[in-house]
Symmetry: C2
Subunit: 263 residues, 2 copies
């Protein structure tokens, strides 16, 4: 990494006792442009980690890439440009996009996608105890989150272990990085995603489109996120804690056959 | 309001004791299109409250509207369209936009704005005790936030009282609603803003462009948010609590001449 992703900053803390100098860690937010086959598609503010994955995931989120195997190469220029080369139709056209609410980076989905049919999801189920282990590992992995209070984390669990984990200032971007990892063949889609951010429509839609069958959040989901999960048959879990899952849809993918031993 | 903004949803809570049925409140996320003088500018997912303000603030965020007094009329069609009529040049052109990171709705700023000069901010200072009162009132006003854990709140304090307070699934959108209120003459710009969301570049830039001199967050700010605050001379406060402010820039606008009486 050429550029730092956190910086220390001087601050003044004011209480009823008066001023006190302090220092805080601040997450570095940077604009990156994303190009597909030498054509610029858009620009996004990001935390400059997992940029290859971000580039691929960003293009997937906006509907330019559909499935793993299409991306041939990703080049990251530290001055703020991600170049994705992929096997897509040459006359790809921009789609009508909806800027999405919530805590989010790429934050764009096409109206077409929102109304379109979703293919069957990957086959996968998760043991209850495994879900707890995943959440524990994801929270421990989020060191920038603990340092800056300004980033969201998103991880993917499959084959009994956490395959990838990414952070970003945007919760959308962190999900895009995970999806980019799937597109680049660095993680499988038949697994479970956990994010520290709220689940809004675009995040659940992206996971459903790539085939991820289980999506968990540390916090809540919106009405439309839940509607999309129902339409796709996706297992949506909110307020996910080790030992406690609040399952909004398709609970059958969480297997309670092996509950954790009480502490 | 024609459409509900919260819904109750059935869920299953899974613990080591097994399943238990439950119900949770879920925030309703809906797409709304925004048009300026009958030309469609974009669409955004929102919480359907403060939609007139949102329409105006959305157009400001994207650079189509610059100052209060331009907006003549805002019409909200409950099926998902906000029509803003404003005195702007007829040949307004789309700008190059950067999709912004973080927790956000409109989440777009133009590169031009990011690099442009910011006019002097409004004159305003806040007593330390007043800041605490503002935070207290804003947190109490956020009933959807407490119910759904899925919305951010944003308020504006001026002339010794909270003038407006809005919620949205996107923290960007909640700020847009406050800025829209200023554009519509429903709140003054010479005051302080408090948001429950993280402060990213676009949020601080919007506040600076409309002239708001003090911006506070319940949580953190990104590096670029801080850089913009410094460039604009804006007072940026993080981790704001009644009785404790962490001031990152221009602390002189918070007057400690009247500290609160210890509880």
């Amino acid at each position: 990494m050429n550029n730092p992703v956190v910086l220390q900053q001087q601050t003044h803390i004011l209480t009823e006792k008066g001023y006190e100098e302090s220092r805080e860690w601040v997450a570095v937010e940077q604009p990156y442009r994303v190009a597909l086959n030498d054509r610029e598609i858009g620009a996004s503010m990001v935390l400059a980690t997992g940029l290859e994955e971000f580039g691929a995931g960003f293009l997937f989120g906006q509907g330019y890439i559909d499935h793993p195997g299409q991306v041939r190469e990703v080049l990251v220029c530290p001055e703020g440009r991600i170049e994705v080369h992929a096997d897509v139709e040459e006359d790809f056209a921009p789609r009508e996009v909806i800027i999405t609410s919530g805590c989010g980076g790429t934050g764009k989905i096409s109206r077409e996608m929102l109304e379109g049919k979703i293919d069957p999801l990957q086959e996968y189920s998760l043991r209850f105890a495994e879900a707890g282990e995943f959440i524990r590992q994801a929270l421990l992995a989020s060191d920038l989150g603990q340092k800056t209070h300004c980033v969201h984390g998103c991880g993917l669990w499959a084959e009994g272990r956490m395959q990838v984990f990414f952070e970003d200032i945007g919760r959308h971007n962190a999900v895009d990085k995970v999806i980019g990892a799937i597109l680049l063949g660095r993680a499988p889609a038949n697994g479970a995603v956990y994010t520290t951010g709220r689940l809004t429509s675009d995040m659940v839609l992206k996971c459903a489109r790539i085939g991820i069958p289980i999506v968990m959040s540390r916090t809540s989901a919106s009405s439309l996120a839940l509607a999309i999960a129902r339409q796709a048959g996706l297992t949506l879990i909110c307020y996910a804690r080790p030992g406690r899952l609040n399952i909004y849809n398709a609970p059958e993918r969480v297997r309670w056959d092996n509950p954790p031993v009480a502490a």
